[in-house]
Amino acid sequence: MTSDRTGEAGRLPKRAIALRLGAIAATLCATTAAFAYAGGWLSPGALTPARIVDTFERINGRHDGFRRNHAKGVCVSGVFQSSGAAAPLSKASVFRAGETPVTGRFALAGGRPYAADATATVRSLALRFQLPGGEEWRTGMNDIPVFPVSTPAAFQEQLIASAPDPATGKPDPARMAAFFAAHPESAKAVALIKARVVMSGFADDTFNSLNAFRFRNDDGAVSSVRWAVVPIPTGTVGEPAPADDKNGLFEALIKRVNADGAPARWRLVVTVGAPEDPTNDATLPWPAGRRTVDAGTLVIDHVEGEAEGRCRDVNFDPLILPAGIEPSDDPLLSARSAAYARSFTRREGEPKAASAVATLTGGTR
């Protein structure tokens, strides 16, 4: 194209001007339509991060300032003492022999921040390892052996199917049966989850990554892994918390770690998958006997309420990973990252209420 400043507009026939104006309008419309398509406006039925978070709010009610899931929790801090044993698997600096400061959060699954502790409720441990140079490793783990669903769509279906029926206050058995009929993988996973041995509290529980990840070492070699934190010494099988103690599980942890001054310890155990082990389906356990690596010891020596411990305003996005740890092909990982971000941004902008378990005021509510 050459420059042309002779102002030839007048020489264009009216028809040509109209045609060219039409072409410009069409270009703008097409660009806007493509943008709308990318933003999902042309597919209103699609499952989005916002929709998943909306579903949590619809089922549990909206509790300003709290997480939409795993709403009830406490903050913890301590250190990870790396043995160096996982360094040949991953180049992440957290696995070199040495110490990395750790903060985290123990919580109960479910979107109600003041729900009473119950023995059968799934417990979680989220951790944040702060590596040198601004890198971080964040992970959210649960005390179940496998995850109940394998895809984001199944997660949403399960959430809706297991919502309490307003008439009975319990999930509708017919809807749950229909869900399991449509998702046999979930029926098998839930059977494994129900058969798990429930430990007496947070401190003697095992927490599993559930999703698979990839470790990359200095030579570029990649291994499929899952990890778990396993209590030292091996935990004791639990008895139900007293019915009148609605924060009993958390108070037991606070008493043990803060009052009795007995840090809780776990081994960080990395399980290395064989090539045939599924990495894209968190409902499937890996066969027993896979190689495990004892990466080091997690020491939790302090427990605080959510506000004072500053874990409330942290997104434990499982895909905040240092170089050397990478996502697998598990579709739940990206979906977790997306839904956590949405839940995080919503709650961060809301007024904050006192958490059920607090340590500064010494009180619980």
Binding site: M1, T2, S3, D4, R5, T6, G7, E8, A9, L12, I17, R20, L21, A23, I24, T27, L28, T31, T32, F35, A38, G39, G40, A46, L47, T48, P49, A50, I52, S93, G133, G134, E135, E136, P152, R310, D313, V314, N315, L319, I320, P322, A323, G324, P327, P331, L333, S334, A335, S337, A338, A339, A341, F344, T345, R346, R347, E348, G349, E350
Partner: protein
């Protein structure tokens, strides 16, 4: 007698590189917030491209000081010139504001600012929940604003190129390596 009628090669390279990056970013951004399966992949490229745009915008502003754009046609109505000027101020402002707000928003949200490998940027702000939520909203609003500014820019460019045919479109959309074209060589 000569008069600069086209942007310098450096200006054109900067313009078209940034055009590709910014348009890609607008689409990546709007897609990622609605996506579950591609969210992580898109976020992982959104952050480094955003920082690249910030760096390029700084280079471009400096380049603009040394290589000012060719003047608009003398016979262009004053109001049109004013609109052109205002839309360019908006485009430049948004090229800086969007990456900076994104960086500040991640800082206030207590996120690491990962770039490539183990490279991370320092935080611009200390963690602040309300500020994070506010900056997240501002980031979205500015992004829609940038999309609107881009549409206006595209519309004006096409109007100049197809209907007014006053050389404004060609001053950026040319492959010419000549910076100045002799006045009398033009038709």
């Amino acid at each position: 007698m000569t008069r600069p009628v086209v942007f310098t090669l450096a200006s054109r390279i900067l313009h078209w590189t940034m055009a590709a990056l910014i348009i890609a970013m607008l689409f990546i951004g709007v897609a990622m917030v609605a996506s579950l399966s591609n969210y992580h992949r898109l976020v992982s490229i959104h952050q480094p491209i955003g920082i690249a745009i910030l760096a390029l915008a700084a280079i471009r502003l400096i380049n603009r000081l040394f290589n000012p754009p060719p003047p608009l046609p003398a016979d262009m109505p004053r109001l049109q010139k004013l609109a052109a000027k205002a839309s360019h101020v908006a485009l430049y402002g948004l090229m800086f504001a969007l990456p900076l707000v994104g960086w500040a928003m991640l800082s206030a949200g207590d996120y690491p600012i990962d770039l490539f490998g183990s490279w991370a940027l320092p935080r611009l702000l200390s963690p602040d929940p309300m500020l994070h939520a506010w900056l997240r909203r501002v980031h979205g609003v500015l992004a829609y604003g940038l999309f609107a500014a881009f549409l206006l820019h595209l519309a004006a460019a096409l109007l100049h190129g197809l209907i007014l045919r006053d050389g404004v479109f060609g001053s950026m959309a040319t492959l010419s390596f000549r910076r100045r074209v002799p006045q009398n060589s033009r038709s």
